[in-house]
Structure formats: C-alpha cells, structure tokens
Symmetry: D2
Subunit: 145 residues, 4 copies
Amino acid sequence: MAEAAMDDYVQMDEVDWVVFPEGLCSGLVEWKLLHVSPETGAWTAAFRAEKGASIARHIHVGPGEYYMTKGVMQVRGGADEGGATARAPGYGYEACNAQHDYTVFEEDSELYMTFLGPLNFTDDDGNTIALVGWREVSEAWQAAA
Amino acid sequence: MAEAAMDDYVQMDEVDWVVFPEGLCSGLVEWKLLHVSPETGAWTAAFRAEKGASIARHIHVGPGEYYMTKGVMQVRGGADEGGATARAPGYGYEACNAQHDYTVFEEDSELYMTFLGPLNFTDDDGNTIALVGWREVSEAWQAAA
Amino acid sequence: MAEAAMDDYVQMDEVDWVVFPEGLCSGLVEWKLLHVSPETGAWTAAFRAEKGASIARHIHVGPGEYYMTKGVMQVRGGADEGGATARAPGYGYEACNAQHDYTVFEEDSELYMTFLGPLNFTDDDGNTIALVGWREVSEAWQAAA
Amino acid sequence: MAEAAMDDYVQMDEVDWVVFPEGLCSGLVEWKLLHVSPETGAWTAAFRAEKGASIARHIHVGPGEYYMTKGVMQVRGGADEGGATARAPGYGYEACNAQHDYTVFEEDSELYMTFLGPLNFTDDDGNTIALVGWREVSEAWQAAA
C-alpha cells in the first residue's frame, strides 16, 4: 500500500534566515523553507525583507496565500493601481496565474506564504527565466544550509 | 471560457474575532475566516485561543499547514507522546488523515492555518459528528457576521 | 531533501476485476484501484457495473472527474431532473460537495474516475455511514487481492 | 459567500476533434478539451494520434494521469529504457516534474488525461518555449472551435 504522508514540525526560531537567491530579488530578502509537498508541487516558506527590497517579475503558476506579519508590501502595483497593499496583519490570496510585475517592501517586512506549483520568473517580454518550484527551492535551501 | 479565480486581500485587524462554533471546542476559541476555495474545498482561517482551551477530536480529511504566531499548542499528545508541541514561532504540517484526538492551548495562543478539505469531527468511537469544510465554515462565518 | 513522487503504470487488462464493497452499492459493481496519492488524498479507479446496479447515496468531499467508456449512468436524477445522463463516450465533472443520492446504470457500463478526497456515504438523513478515501480504498483493494 | 464550483457534462461524441497546436507535436495529433479548473490550474482532455505521431519535449509541472483506450504510446523512452510503454487498456501516473523528452505513438491511439498545472515545453537545453496550462488550452480550444 502507498505510504501516508508524514506530519512535520519546524521550530522556526531555531532555523537561521538565509539570503534569498540573487536574481530573484533586489535588496536584502531572506527566507526559511518550511515544507515541500513533492506530489502536488506545493511548498511553504517564510520571508523577511528590508525596506526597499523587491521581488523580481514573476507569475504564480498555481495559487498562493500569504500572511503578512510585519511591515508593508505592494503587490501588483499596490491598492492604488488595482493591486493590493498588504499591511501587517494582512492576508492575501494570489490566484492561479497572478502576474506580479513588481513586488516591493515599503518597510522592513515579514510574511509567511504557501504556494501550489512554481513561480515563473520572466523577463520584461514574458519569457521564462526560471521556474522555481518545490525542487528548485529544496536545492537552493540545501545549498545554503 | 471558464473564469479565472479572483485575487483577494483581507486587512485582518479590521475584521473582528468571532467565537468558534460551540461543540467544536472547549474554552474560548475565536476565529476569522480568511478565504475559501470552493473548487478544491480548501479554506484558510486565523484562530485565537485562551490558555486551557482545546479543540474537539477531529481528523484532517486533507493536509493542513499552520503558522503558530503566539503561545503554545499541544497536537497529537504533544512532543512527549509522539505528537508536536507547537511553540510560537512554529510551523506544522498535518498530513492527510492526521488524527487529532486532543489539541490543547497551554498559553493564550494565535495561529494561522490553511486546510485542504474538511475536518471530520468524531465521537470517541470514530463516528462522524460533523464534517466541517469550506461550505460549513462559510455558513458559520456568515451567521456570526 | 523530500523525495519526488514516483511515476506509475498499470496494464489494466492484467488486473482482475474485484467486487466493489457491499453496502456501497446494489447489484453487481466491480472495480480496479489504479492509483492513490496519499499526500492530497486523491485516488483513481475503473468501475464496471451490470445493468440495474446502483451506487449508494454519497457526497463527493472533493471534485471528481469521470470518463464513461461503455453504457449509460444516471447521475443526480439524470438529465431529466437537473442531473446528468452519462452515455458513453461521455465526460463528467462532479464538483466538490456534489450530492449523489442515487446513481444507477441503465446498461452494462464501464467508467474511469479520478477523485480528490473521500466519498461520504450517508444515510437518508445525511448522517455519515462511511468516509471512503485513499486509505479505505487501498485497504479494501488489498483485502480483495 | 463564495460560489460552489459547477458540475459539468460533455457528450464527447458530439464534439469534433481539433488539430492539436503545431509546434507542440509532430504528425497528426488531435484533441478535445473537456474541462478546466481555473482555481488550481487543472485541466482535462482527450487526445487522438496517428501512428508515428509524437509530442514535443515537455515537463509536467504538476502530476498527470492518463487512461489509454486505444493503441500504444512510448513514454520516457518506453519500458525498455526505464519509461513506460502504455498499451490500451492502460493507466499511467506521471509524477510532478516528470520529464517527457519524446512521446511517440506506435499505433493509431487514443487517450484521456487529467493534468494539474501546465506542461512546460522546452528546447533541448531545457529552456522554456511555452507553458501550456488551463488558460492557454482554453484559448487554443476556443480559437479552433
């Protein structure tokens, strides 16, 4: 019989922050990988960003949900341009195919996020530079640890 | 063509805590429903519990992930009995079919949790009392609001 | 690092049909369990039913999709009563929470179906008799094999 | 309250086969799009291929499951090279991240397949040429219909 999936627990304050891979962000963004679900390609991470830092252009290949616990993040241009301005404590649902041309942190910020499927980082013309999914984040996390 | 799912944002400190349905817990447990995904039956909520409060016996019909932001929660008997003792800041993955006979908060606590599928609340013999999924939480949330 | 899920292949004509568990159907219904995905609780099976056979009252806890390759099946009362009359070759999407009070095969029939989450078999008042998910079907399949 | 997903039914023999988009295959491959699930990015289709036809190099971004109802398909090099030789009636589970460098039909063939997430069509160096997901298949299907 197929084996059941395993429960897991991470004491987050016993795991060090690691610099998020260059090329995927600008300014200081750090992360902790918390879980990967290889069967569906889901993964979960915490992020910490300095004021002014930003995440490079990407598309969510599947839905993602975040819980902003500190600071301010402008998503999809922010609330003034039809996107969201996430101010802690805030919750956001980024739908399958959500396009994030520019995600910027206006204050020192922290968020927790669950992802189904990879992020598709693209150039300005929409060409894929990197598909970053459960396997790529696992490899990046292990390389840093 | 089928319509894309919608992005969503909730400013969590502008939403009041609501008492979690009686019968599903003991002591004071409050919640905020943040999102439901009717297609797959996923849902997301924040919970706040007083020291000594507990959640009634239930089984996770699909996987669930939590981010403990305050306090201490004993899951599946706690770490001493093969379960998990979640101490903020902590992350937990409760696998599909995880059985939670007794979940107790040892301090005033808060957590954020994503669920795939319903919780199956059972009696001591494992008989279903209530399947609490995206539809039931939506109805409970609307009735309270 | 977490292990990737495994590819799998089943040569279906080399697997014998097995009688579907009593109590879940009436008349002769046989099945072949093809796959289970323990992480999300998904599972896949083929079914063969004799004319006049039926499936007991159940609710789809998550979405299910079927491909009818032979015969005729009345779902949710059939097309005349707002449900579907599936006539091979036919495809059906049964949404999360779809309620199937009575599913009857009007001819000798065969179908292939993928499920997310369990089926909730209930009595006439909606009380759960059996939640039949990836684990229960695995156990039933192994007991019969 | 969020709206429930809708049930759906397609009488497959009343839908015409359409030529599968050029560039994604070689030889005559036809398809019928049966369903898309925008929330998770899942989709379902039937395919018909002439002997000798093949599918271009691609990676499954999420898991996929197929039911081969006619003919023979060599997947991942076929059974002789560690892949699968799907011979009707056959069932295959292609795991998340499955890499299909060359998929060839050795006889006139038909299959039904469910997909979670897009297919990532790549060049020989693994660079993404096209991510083909629920939205792209919907657009291609509507353009052809």
